[in-house]
């Protein structure tokens, strides 16, 4: 899954991995039932759309501002 990342994925991976390792947790071994997986998948997609629409809105605001100034 690709994201319009502002932060390097390596940084985020290290952050998550080190935190999980500190508490002795390995998420690869976790089993979640298919219903919950589907719910989480929908939740993440919905939040991703929200963030993208906010970014788009900010971008449009900036463009409008530039046009006004020109």
């Amino acid at each position: 899954m690709s994201t319009n990342s502002n932060f390097p994925n390596q940084l985020v991976d290290m952050l998550v991995d080190s935190t999980l390792k500190k508490h002795g947790v390995n998420l690869d071994e976790v089993t979640i039932d298919s219903t919950q997986k589907e719910q989480i998948r929908n939740l993440v997609e919905s939040l991703k759309n929200n963030v993208e629409s906010l970014n788009q809105q900010n971008k449009e605001n900036k463009e409008n501002k530039t046009k006004k100034n020109n």
Binding site: M1, F7, L15, V44, V51, L54, N58, K65
Partner: protein
Amino acid sequence: MSKPKPGQRRTVVIERQCRTDNNCDNGPREWSALDASCNHPMDATVEQGQDSKLSNAQHSYESIVVKDSCDIEVSSNDTQAAINVQVALQVAIALVISISIADSNTANEITQDLNAKLKSSQVNSQQVYIQNSRGVNITTTDTDIAVNIQLLLQVLIAIVLRLDIL
């Protein structure tokens, strides 16, 4: 206690000693420094409550002063929508961790650790002062939230990828 007569000196000694009775567990009570059995409220060993997940303070101070000016246009981007998305992402991270980790204490600790590391500047202060000006356009935006939202989304996706959900 009787009033001292002229020339008489009164000495008052206040003695305090640490209490050893274990009263802290008997329900909510004010924390006492003298009670050895009470953990300090700021002590790291005291577990934070469930509400701490949502207790990140969000402050945004904006002050725009226009004085002796004309043709001034001010537009301030509404950051409420961005704050809502940020809180939703924080809740989602906490939720996914609590679903995937059976031990609630460990799940809480991991969520708190992540929130502590992701905590960027949550206070945004903007002050604009315009005096004796004409034809000025001002647009103010809280960029801190936009940056934090992007990072939170990436962390959520990273966790979900490890759970083999996406």
